[in-house]
């Protein structure tokens, strides 16, 4: 009897030992979030809830590098994000490309060092080539030079461009691009201006 109890105790200790050394991915993510909550502080508009993740952010944090996202997870993510896009009620997608160029150049907005009273930028040039004149462009995203000249000046393409700027995740799961409309970075009018920069035949992007 004593021997049995002893065995049970030993097995229990082994189980406890395993439990304390093996940490699942979900537990690590929870540890990281808890640690971040204890390590950041509110500064102006940048509040602590910015550390919390929606489903897209959670899944796209988990899968990276060789750990590829399963296709069904990616497909569902895109479908869920598609449903969140709000297209303009007036059915018009094109604004003013000149204003769009200013928005594409501006990198301000949503940082704790930014004044929330000022309009946000989209900083498109940080990641994309757009007009030929601007040489200081980044390469995180593809070149958008001649965007509509190549793809066509069609209403379908205008709608696609609007949706892509509004919520990039709806078209490409785990894209690096911010969801400018979904996350309230740009207003509807601003997105139309950016779409005009891409789609207007007079825009330098299509020259």
């Amino acid at each position: 009897m004593k021997k049995i109890i002893g065995t049970v105790v030993v097995l229990g200790l082994i189980a406890a030992g395993c439990a304390s050394t093996y940490v699942s991915e979900e537990q690590r993510e929870a540890q990281a979030l808890a640690m971040m909550k204890a390590s950041f502080k509110v500064n102006g508009q940048a509040t602590l809830d910015r550390l919390d993740q929606d489903d897209m952010q959670k899944m796209c944090s988990r899968y990276h590098g060789d750990n590829k996202m399963p296709k069904d997870v990616g497909d569902k993510l895109e479908k869920d994000q598609q449903a969140l896009i709000k297209y303009p009620a007036d059915g018009k997608y094109l604004g003013d490309w000149k204003s769009g160029e200013r928005i594409a150049q501006s990198g301000v907005g949503k940082q704790f060092s930014d004044n929330p009273a000022n309009p946000n930028g989209a900083n498109c040039y940080a990641c994309h080539q757009l007009s030929k004149a601007e040489l200081a462009y980044g390469t995180i995203g593809p070149s958008l030079y001649n965007f509509a000249k190549v793809r066509g000046y069609t209403p379908q393409m205008q709608k696609y461009a609007y949706g892509k700027v509004y919520n990039s995740q709806a078209f490409s799961a785990c894209s690096s691009m911010p969801r400018f409309g979904h996350s309230g970075i740009l207003t509807e009018a601003q997105i139309k201006d950016v779409v005009a920069l891409l789609m207007d035949p007079e825009s330098p992007v299509n020259k």
Binding site: V23, R28, E29, Q31, A32, L33, M35, M36, A38, S39, F40, K41, V42, N43, A46, T47, L48, R50, L51, D52, Q53, M56, Q57, C60, S61, R62, H64, G65, K110, Q111, F112, S113, Y125, A126, C127, L135, A136, Y137, G138, T139, I140, Q169, S176, P178, R179, S183, G184, I185
Partner: protein, 267 residues
């Protein structure tokens, strides 16, 4: 003054280059960076840091010469290359800046608030911590990064730091990995190191802290993380917070084997 003129000339060259083709822009930036490497004002921070290190300070009138920053009390040479690490006396994983604050509190008798009064320098405000960081890191030049990450708390810090690196959040859905998780990326004209790859991780980690020409300050690794998270649209990272140290553990260990060479000079 000669240096200022040199810098102005380099900047002017850079401006001219903007009219040339893209490839030559990148080449001109390389020239500008090479010009910067010729004489680094960080030396002034290093010299001031050495003075502070040796001064008797605080209510307990103690210098840092009994402070253990990784290789035993008072050992400065090479210490930065083993950080972050677990320290039994504080029962925490600490990076250099956390450890300096710990010594200010335990050895010199300052309150944590006093120790962390001026963590970053600015116009008309000198930071003793930045100077100390410059001195200590400068004493590891030429030594290979050698972060152990074997103590259970070090392993935990590394694993959590890795998740923080990939944690997408905020209004822009950015994670560290958004800009630093792929090869040969550029934001505007700035090259971005892929911190998940050995060569890039080594090159990046071993060149911080840096004298930032655009700011006229030596910037520490804690500052680098603080300002990355600002641009990531996250809330404000607290100085020497657990998340900052866990992330540093992830990045420092990934740079193991790289030859340390900082404070450097960056644009």
């Amino acid at each position: 003054m000669a240096r200022t003129i040199g810098l102005m000339a380099a900047l002017f060259t850079l401006a001219l280059a903007a009219q040339a083709q893209d490839k030559s822009v990148v080449e001109e930036i390389e020239k500008y960076r090479a010009a910067l490497g010729d004489g680094n004002p960080a030396e002034l921070w290093e010299a001031r840091g050495e003075d502070i290190w040796k001064q008797a300070r605080g209510p307990k009138k103690a210098s840092f010469e009994k402070c253990d920053i990784g290789l035993g009390p008072g050992v400065v040479k090479g210490a930065y290359t083993v950080l972050p690490k677990y320290f039994a006396d504080s029962d925490k994983v600490e990076d250099l800046e956390s450890r300096l604050v710990t010594c200010m509190v335990t050895l010199q008798g300052l309150t944590p608030e006093q120790a962390k009064k001026d963590v970053f320098g600015g116009p008309g405000k000198k930071s003793d911590l930045e100077a100390l960081v410059a001195y200590v890191t400068g004493s590891s030049r030429g030594i290979k990064m050698n972060v152990a990450a074997t103590h259970p708390k070090e392993v935990e810090a590394y694993e959590i730091g890795k998740r923080i690196f990939y944690h997408r959040g905020g209004p822009h859905d950015f994670a560290c990995s958004t800009c630093h998780g792929d090869d040969n990326l550029r934001i505007r004209l700035q090259d971005l190191p892929n911190l998940s790859k050995l060569a890039d991780a080594q090159r990046a980690y071993t060149t911080w802290p840096a004298y930032r020409v655009s700011q006229g300050e030596v910037r520490s690794f804690q500052w680098r993380l603080y300002d990355c998270f600002r641009q990531q649209r996250f809330p404000e990272l607290e100085y020497t917070s657990p998340a900052s140290i866990a992330l540093t553990m992830f990045l420092a260990k990934n740079a193991n084997g790289g030859v340390y060479n900082a404070p450097s000079i960056k644009r």
